[in-house]
């Protein structure tokens, strides 16, 4: 029944379909790839799209279609990892800050506000350039998580703060429920609807930042993500030589992925707002 109600929202349906397409492309298709798409000189260079190579080949002899599917998979994986851990850390920190209050709250709040206030990109560039060459998707993810956790952290903290004073929490408290039980039974259901939309948003942000770094050449040089694909395409003058089939797919893919994710996230958020009676 929940599913049927979901179908009412064009945003959720549209976003979900797009996301599904990407997940299929990124998680399922790579298993069918004939060879490691990252390997150079697998095929003749600079071929235009044809039946054998659906999107042509790059200047380095890679099949673009399979490379794209790998890149999508990696980007999605990176986004998911960043989203998962930063949401996890953020929720824990937010709950502690909101409920404990006092000094702990002030320290955590300051950390969160300061991390948000500082422009992240210059520092990320600094970090990535110091790591240059040795950067792996793993280390990039770590950095992204470090910068991202305050966003869910702040939201959860304000929810925890308002919850702390809500009557039904007092009721549970006074009737002897342990803190943990209160958390589980009262607060988590409230957070659940929020966190899905937030998770998707963070995936968006994670992919966006990683690809921003990649486009200026600061991401992992070995592994393929949507951002690094664009980087290599620019570096090898795909635009100047009008090889649209190289630069086009990753750009279009990113746009579609982002719009799709956003539609899904905002559709879910709207639904959770309606459920909360706004």
């Amino acid at each position: 029944m929940v599913m049927l109600r979901t179908l009412n929202s064009p945003r959720i349906v549209g976003g979900f379909l797009i996301l599904l397409t990407f997940i299929v492309m990124g998680a399922v298709l790579p298993w069918f790839a004939p060879a490691d798409p990252r390997a150079w000189q697998s095929y003749p260079r600079n071929l235009q799209p044809s039946v054998q190579h659906l999107m042509g080949t790059t200047n380095l002899g890679q099949d673009i279609f399979w490379l794209l599917s790998w890149a999508i998979g990696n980007s999605l994986l990176l986004g998911a990892i960043v989203a998962f851990f930063s949401t996890l850390i953020g929720v824990i920190a937010g709950l502690i800050a909101g409920f404990k209050g006092g000094f702990v709250d002030r320290v955590l709040s300051f950390l969160m506000d300061a991390t948000i206030a500082i422009p992240s990109l210059p520092i990320l560039i600094l970090m990535a350039s110091i790591l240059k060459g040795k950067a792996t998707l793993f280390s990039i993810s770590l950095i992204l998580i470090a910068f991202n956790w305050p966003f869910p952290g702040r939201q959860v903290r304000s929810v925890a703060l308002s919850m702390r004073n809500r009557e039904f929490v007092y009721l549970a408290w006074f009737s002897g429920e342990s803190f943990k039980n209160i958390l589980l039974s009262q607060i988590f259901p409230y957070l659940r609807t929020w966190s899905t939309a937030n998770f998707i948003n963070t995936v968006l942000v994670g992919i966006a930042v990683e690809s921003s770094l990649a486009v200026i050449g600061l991401s992992s040089a070995d592994e393929a993500t949507l951002g690094t694909m664009i980087y290599w395409a620019i570096k090898y003058q795909a635009i100047l030589s009008e090889r649209w089939w190289w630069i086009g797919p990753p750009v279009v893919a990113i746009i579609l992925l982002f719009v799709g994710l956003f539609l899904l996230a905002s559709g879910l958020e709207r639904r959770s707002q309606k459920a909360r009676g706004r």
Partner: protein, 330 residues
């Protein structure tokens, strides 16, 4: 009101100190050693040096990078450099020009770009957001909302890329790299600057515009539901007056707060766009520093970025009490 100001100022100082400390410790935690990296680069450029010369170079590099002495001494010197003297030493890529001179030359470009982009996107986004929020059934409202939803999630550089593809290659009416001609402050100079800045600015404007429109839409449709708007209507006020004095004036308040929060993100976006279009601002400078492994320049530009964004945020925070009487008069 005094409380508000003091807390904002404290936060400002705190954020800067936090940021400075962070970038101070950063290289010391990451595996690479900038001195050795720099040495490696110099040596690989073909010059042969004797052992003693290498050691001497190592020492002077250590000094230049501020890595001499105990950690505490280094930190003290670093903070003093950043906050007081503003001297980051010479740029290694463009020796012997000092880092602060390079930053000094590029800051106005970034400032101009960001200021105009922020102004245009904020003003138009809010104005149109007001229309969409208060007259949702108009056809143009739905159209604008659709555009905003499409543009808003796109990362800045993607839009920059798309714009550059369309307007520099397919339909080349704008230059791909920035070449400004003319003597400063003649009319032709101004036109040249505007012409070159157009695409980078548009990339930032279009994406941010989506955000402002969507948030203003939500805010203004929320304010429309408020009791005092209904009362205004009962007083016989015209819809136009209601929109301006009642809805807009109240919906703008959170928008100003959001502006403070968004400045950091827009700055990030401007960095990428500058790099894409070779725009001579701080962003390109950071990029140069990265490519050339110019440690001093990198530290200098990053530190400056932190201070610049924090200061801009503080300014916006200071403006807020001027428009919200509830903060001004407690």
């Amino acid at each position: 009101m005094a409380n508000y100001l003091i807390s904002r100022l404290l936060a400002y100082v705190g954020v800067i100190l936090f940021g400075i400390t962070f970038i101070f410790f950063l290289p010391r935690f990451l595996p690479s050693d900038p001195v050795e990296a720099m040495l490696g680069k110099i040596l690989s450029q073909g010059q042969y040096m004797e052992e003693s010369q290498v050691n001497a170079l190592r020492l002077s590099l250590t000094d230049a990078f501020g890595l001499k002495g105990s950690l505490f001494e280094q930190y003290g010197r670093f903070v003093k450099r950043v906050l007081i003297t503003g001297d980051f030493g010479p740029s290694l890529a463009m020796y012997p020009t000092s880092v602060s001179e390079l930053i000094h030359n590029s800051l106005p470009w970034t400032f101009g770009l960001l200021l105009s982009a922020v102004l245009i996107s904020w003003v138009f986004g809010n104005a149109l957001g007001l229309v969409v929020g208060t007259r949702p059934h108009w056809r143009i409202s739905r159209l604008l909302e659709g555009i905003a939803i499409f543009v808003y999630p796109i990362p800045y550089y993607v839009l920059g890329l798309v714009l550059s593809i369309f307007f520099c290659y397919i339909w080349p009416i704008f230059p791909l790299t920035t070449t400004v001609q003319g003597v400063p402050w003649t009319w032709s100079f101004v036109v040249s600057v505007a012409y070159n800045s157009f695409l980078p600015a548009m990339s930032i404007v279009l994406v941010s515009f989506g955000w402002w429109l969507l948030s203003m839409r939500a805010l203004s449709s929320g304010v429309m539901e408020e009791d005092f708007v209904n009362y205004g209507r009962l007083k016989g006020l015209t819809e136009g007056r209601l929109l301006l004095t009642y809805v807009l004036r109240n919906a703008l308040l959170p928008q100003v707060t959001f502006l403070a929060l968004q400045l950091g993100l827009m700055f990030n976006g401007s960095i990428i766009c500058e790099i894409l279009f070779s725009y001579p601002g701080v962003g390109s400078l950071i990029y140069t520093a990265v490519i050339q492994g110019d440690y001093n320049l990198l530290m200098g530009t990053v530190a400056t970025s932190i201070i610049a964004v924090a200061t801009a945020t503080l300014l916006v925070d200071l403006i807020y009490p001027l428009i919200d009487p509830r903060i001004r008069y407690q």
